[in-house]
């Protein structure tokens, strides 16, 4: 029983995947609405199941381990999964390959789980790959679209390249320590040329997945080319999960090289914040805009990570939760607008508040949360990251963070201005709303308001992060 509880995420997911296979054989997906709603219900159950009583421990000679924090992270991922599937309802209704979509998405999630609870670098590697490869296929989902396939090829090739680089680093690490289980790496990792070299390469691999400057360049193109649902998934699930793992990698795996990675992380953090915001400054395509904004956000996450302590990981997890909600909300609105106007340009948001106050308000809340403006939860998320960052007394880093707060505020206010202040010459008709999307948006809204004020949430995260 114990093992079932411990593997519940993986088991349920495997079951779901299997179920989809069977459906595909039986052709259950002919009735679109029924299929999609079933999937959403199933994902909801999956999310609930995540909260079953927990059991810590590790199996397969520490290849697989789980603990409260990991369970929480998986739950957050599940929440994101559910919300994404809800928001992409309208799109999937038209799409021919909705079943494959779920198939690929779930298998990618499976990879994420493996990655999250890996106790060995091999597992880490496998999880990373399993979570990435399906996304490449997903991003190419609009088979008829040039941009989509371009996105696909860019993602797969560059990820393959980065994998190569990371693996090279891992091989060097192997050469240095001889056994790649986390325990042994932690035990006999000493700062020397080889390990530092290896660390740099491995860091690059993760940085690629988190799209940290200067390893970020694929992000914008892929986000723009892929279908909105996939972009959403990329920006929230894959990025978030890698951030979670990155915490473990830095704090425990490379804990021995702390001062080394402190320097490296601060540099790339400054770069990501600044470059991300500077690029977002000029974007007119909504998805591309959010791509760069997410790059900047990761920069802030890195500021928090530098704390290298409870507050560090707690604030990061807390932030990722908020970031997930805000981004999903934003993408949800974008998809709604894009569906009806057919354009993903920010211009099409002009005068949104007059025609669709609901969407406009959701979007505004999401953007304010990203910009870190009270009383939306993003404010707390971002400021806790900075608070964590100050722990190591890096005034320079904090200074850049401050400047970037201003820059990012400008970026987000630009969109707010479109929605609330400007009025649209081509008057926007009230957009069609389906129940699923609305539900998802409401969940995000409530979450974004509540997380800041329901104190137990943060305390729970904090209690899990104490190590």
């Amino acid at each position: 029983m114990d093992i079932v509880l411990m593997f519940r995420f993986e088991i349920i997911l495997a079951a779901l995947i299997l179920a989809i296979f069977i459906m595909s054989l039986r052709g259950f997906d002919t009735n679109v609405k029924c299929f999609l709603n079933t999937m959403n219900v199933l994902l909801l159950l999956n999310f609930i199941a995540g909260w079953l009583p927990l059991s810590e421990g590790s199996y397969f000679s520490d290849f697989f381990r789980t603990n409260g924090l990991i369970v929480l992270q998986k739950n957050i991922i599940n929440l994101g999964l559910l919300l994404i599937s809800l928001t992409s309802y309208a799109w999937l209704e038209q799409s021919k390959y909705r079943l494959e979509f779920y198939l690929l998405m779930l298998s990618s999630i499976f990879g994420v789980y493996v990655m999250l609870s890996s106790g060995h670098i091999l597992m880490l590697y496998l999880g990373l790959e399993m979570s990435t490869i399906p996304i490449a296929a997903m991003s190419n989902f609009n088979l008829k679209e040039q941009r989509s396939s371009e996105a696909g090829i860019k993602l797969i090739l560059s990820s393959a390249f980065s994998t190569g680089i990371m693996l090279f680093g891992i091989s060097l690490l192997y050469g240095a320590v001889g056994n790649l289980s986390f325990a042994s790496v932690i035990a006999n990792l000493h700062p020397n040329a080889l390990t530092l070299f290896a660390f740099a390469f491995i860091l690059a691999g993760f940085a690629f997945k988190m799209s940290i400057v200067p390893f970020h360049l694929w992000t914008a193109d892929v986000y723009e080319g892929s279908p909105i649902a996939v972009t959403n998934f990329l920006s929230v699930i894959s990025k978030g999960s890698v951030i979670f793992v990155f915490l473990t990698v830095l704090y425990s795996l490379f804990g021995g090289l702390k001062e080394a990675w402190l320097l490296g992380i601060s540099i790339v953090s400054i770069l990501s914040m600044t470059v991300g915001n500077l690029f977002a400054l000029r974007q007119q395509n909504a998805k591309r805009f959010l791509a760069f904004s997410s790059i900047a956000q990761v920069g802030f996450v890195l500021v928090g990570i530098t704390a290298a302590s409870t507050i560090g990981s707690a604030s990061v997890v807390y932030f990722v939760l908020i970031y997930l909600l805000s981004n999903i909300a934003a993408f949800g609105v974008i998809s709604a607008v894009a569906d009806s106007t057919g354009s993903e340009s920010l211009q099409s948001f002009k005068g949104l508040y007059k025609s669709n106050p609901f969407y406009a308000l959701i979007m505004a809340v999401a953007l304010f949360s990203l910009a870190g403006v009270p009383p939306i939860a993003g404010f707390f998320g971002k400021l806790f990251l900075l608070t964590a960052g100050m722990k190591s007394g890096l005034y320079v880093l904090l200074g850049f963070a401050g400047v970037n707060l201003v820059l990012s505020l400008y970026n987000y206010l630009r969109v707010v201005k479109y929605m609330f202040i400007d009025d649209n010459e081509a008057h926007l008709a009230p957009l069609n709303r389906n129940r699923q999307l609305t539900t998802a948006l409401y969940i995000c809204l409530i979450g974004l308001i509540a997380i800041g004020f329901v104190t137990p949430i943060y305390q729970y995260i904090d209690s899990l992060c104490r190590f």
Binding site: T310, I311, A314, F368, V373, P374, P375, F379, F380, L383, F384, L386, T387, M390, K391, G393, Y395, L398, G399, A401, G402, V403, L405, V406, L409, Y410, L413, V416, K417, F420, I421, T455, Y458, Q459, D462
Partner: protein
Amino acid sequence: MDILSLLLVFPVITALGILVAKKDKVVRWTALSGSIVQLFLAIGITAYYVSLRNAGETGQMLLESSYEWFAPLQIYFSAAVDGISLVMILMTAMVVVAGILVSWKIGKQVKEFFFLILLLSLSAYGFFISTNLFVMFFFLELAVIPKYLLIGVWGSGRKDYSAMKLALMLMFGSALVFIGILGLFYFTGAQTWDFQEIAKMHIPIETQRILYILLFTGFGVFTAMFPFHTWAPDGHSSAPTAASMFLAGISMKLGGYGCLRVATYLLPDAAQELSWIFIITASIAIIYGAFATMMQKDLKYMNAYSSVSHCGFVILGIAMLTKAAVTGAVMQMVSHGIMTALFFASIGMIYDRAHTRQADELGGMLKQMPFIGSAFIISGLCSLGLPGFSGFVSEMTVFVGSWERTGVFYRVATILACASIVVTAVYILRAVGFAIWGTVTNKEYLKFKDATWSERSAAVLLTLGILIIGLAPFLFIHLIDADTTSIVSRFIAVVGK
């Protein structure tokens, strides 16, 4: 539920009421009644505070209360008041009521407008009562977006530019402030945000220097300190009347309060060592702001620049570190808050009718609209520091206090500040002569009606405020005396006596 939290609960309730309200009429009345209740609540709290003091309560701050918020990060929602925060709260409540009255006729998106106004007021109350630096910062930030939207949506002129500039500059300021309070959080030894706790710590001077500059500059941006003042003229002039009243009346005071309560009070050694920097900026702001005002044609620009000049007195008083000067700074904050609100209100009333704010295009307003004209003149006279109005007592207190600092540097700064009263007279009288006196130039103006009941009551309320302080300053002094003493006692060393 303790009494101070009521100050926050009422605006929230009112805001929610506005959200659910259907008709504009209902919205207006909800907002008005809510803010009036708030005003009386503030008065009540003050009375209660005074009674406690007279009963011999000797805490630095009274009516303390604390609720857990983010316990792991030491963030508690803890509130307390002393005289200084009380007078600020009273001023805020007054300006809020007046602002709502003045924007009675506002046409579009009434619900949103009053909602944002109440959000602004909420932020001000929260800022003044909270003793936890993080919460303070939360409320400071809370005001930024409402300001942006108020200017952007309801504003006039180059509103997009002004709104964006205001939001960004204030964000910059708050970023500095936040880094500063993070420094206080970590490097004061005890990891706490509570400034009464931090005040007990001894902070090494090197840390103090950095943090003092960060915090004072950061809050200085809010109170339009030279050279970070340029958001003020554009912002004020583009904003709708009520928003201008809030910006100049309340938001700028958040900055001043922060400079005093956080920067100067918590970092006394650095303050003694480095306050000369801000004495310089303040004197520049005062005299140069006054001269810049002299050249303005647009009445709102004029008052905005004069606000820069007047808030210079606040900075000067705080930076001079003598008791009288600090008292004067607090007085000036309250006085300027009310006075400038009245000024903007009367300008707004004129603008609503004439649709121009160019002084030379106006004229004969006093003949056409005696009430509004008189309101304008009264606020003008208060702004040029006429005895009997609040401006005089506060400025004189600052002067006397600044003169306590011996040494040529301080004397020169003080004399410059004094010199500004002449320039102030020049531009105020120019404005009065052009816009208010004289004959009606434009035939259109002959159709103007004088103030409506709501405008009248707003003006009367604010004028009362001005007169109370101006005629009975001893009440005011009595309220804040102990607190200024306890603040100044931290840097007795430099002042000598």
